[in-house]
């Protein structure tokens, strides 16, 4: 369990944090996730990668935690707290503006768009794996990411940034 925790807890934490937007809640979440893994290890049949299994459990628990909270919708304060940490003073000036705006707009996406962007780009999950984690058909996975990207482009355009697409 220590090795499993050691290898996966950071990614599980980050995935959970992007969903619940509260570090304390995200930390509680990973304890619950790995405790569930400890309890249900016998049910893991190896049909998917361990990380896929962990992310699916994390998502389920994050949504449960969100349901328990009243402030499910984007909280500006929480969003700012997250986006501020993404500022990288070492990024070149021109790149910095674009990067900062892009990351800021990413935090402003809806939870379902955020999770699909993270699963594909950061957690490197295939169409099939995302479908398994989110519990939606594979075609829906593809269209959802497309429209998440389209929404991101709209947010950037509203912020005055044109990237050549759409």
């Amino acid at each position: 369990m220590q090795v499993l925790y050691g290898r996966h807890h950071v990614r599980v934490f980050r995935f959970g944090l992007r969903l619940v937007r509260d570090e304390q809640v995200a930390e509680d979440l990973i304890s619950e996730v790995f405790l569930d893994v400890w309890r249900q290890a016998g049910k893991f049949e190896g049909r998917s990668a361990v990380s896929t299994w962990l992310l699916a459990i994390t998502r389920f628990k994050a949504l449960s935690a969100l349901r328990r909270r009243k402030d499910v919708e984007l909280d500006d304060e929480a969003a700012n707290a997250i986006e501020d940490t993404s500022d990288d003073p070492e990024v070149a000036v021109q790149k910095k503006d674009t990067s900062g705006a892009l990351r800021k707009c990413m935090t402003a996406l809806s939870p379902e768009h955020r999770e699909i962007v993270d699963l594909v780009y950061y957690h490197e999950k295939s169409v099939e794996e995302v479908a398994e984690i989110v519990g939606i058909p594979e075609n829906t996975v593809k269209t959802r990411l497309f429209y998440a990207r389209k929404k991101l482009a709209e947010l950037l355009k509203a912020a005055g940034l044109e990237r050549g697409w759409p």
Partner: protein, 237 residues
């Protein structure tokens, strides 16, 4: 003939267009990756959209890496809870061989080929380093083995892209048509070594042993991006 990408946003996106993010992340199977490559080669509009996607891909990694890690409290809480659980035999290791087979079966041929090729190069490099260290440090003492979470095997799987710390490192994804000889030549030309492998054919390379200025790093990445066998190169700590 209709272009692969759709210029009118109200139209439904094409199948190829929807696969672009997975192509950027290197998680498509060989057949789909080839279809996307062919479409990118003949459709400039699609290629432009792909460039935007690669930017999104890099920034998503930056954003997630900036989120930090949980405190030790989470781990303490977990293991206290486990200590409070009834005694059980964790069976996570059941059918390890079956899951190992499953894991390799799930990799796309491109990823598998790349992993194998670069894995071989990494092994050779490691063998050289280990050999050199052993030759240099033969002291006759010994150490016992013990589990430590500080060991690389237990290190968290993350995808650092945030701060730049010496020496210079980059996450590099190679083009599908690259051969092992090309990779070896690339490593030689850039005095680079593979320090970490990851899913999706993405590997972390280290360039020399000294820190570079931001301009040097930018120049290095630009040169790498122009390499025929490199499909993506981004800075990483």
């Amino acid at each position: 003939m209709m272009a692969t990408s759709k210029k009118i946003l109200e139209q439904e996106p094409s199948e190829i267009e929807m696969l672009l993010p997975w192509h950027a992340a290197g998680t498509l199977n060989a057949r789909d990756a080839r279809r996307v490559d062919e479409a990118l080669a003949r459709d400039p509009e699609l290629a432009r959209q792909y460039a935007v996607i690669r930017e999104e891909y890099a920034e998503t990694i930056h954003l997630n890496e900036s989120l930090g890690a949980p405190s030790a409290r989470a781990m303490a809480k977990l293991f206290a809870a486990i200590d409070g659980e009834p005694v059980r035999k964790p069976s996570l290791s059941v059918s390890l061989s079956a899951r190992t087979s499953e894991f390799f079966a799930r990799l796309s041929p491109r990823t598998l080929a790349w992993s194998a090729s670069l894995g071989a190069v990494a092994l050779l490099l490691q063998a050289g380093v280990i050999g050199a260290v052993l030759m240099k440090n033969q002291t006759g003492s010994f150490q016992t083995a013990s589990l430590s979470l500080n060991e690389p095997s237990a290190a968290p799987i993350t995808r650092d892209l945030s701060s730049s710390v010496a020496p210079t490192r980059a996450l590099v994804r190679s083009a599908p048509e690259a051969r092992i000889a090309d990779i070896t030549a690339l490593l030689d030309n850039y005095q680079a070594s593979i320090v970490d492998g990851a899913k999706g054919g993405m590997f972390r390379l280290q360039f020399g042993n000294k820190a570079m200025s931001k301009d040097e790093v930018a120049g290095l990445l630009a040169r790498l991006q122009r390499e025929k066998i490199v499909s993506l190169a981004v800075a990483t700590p």
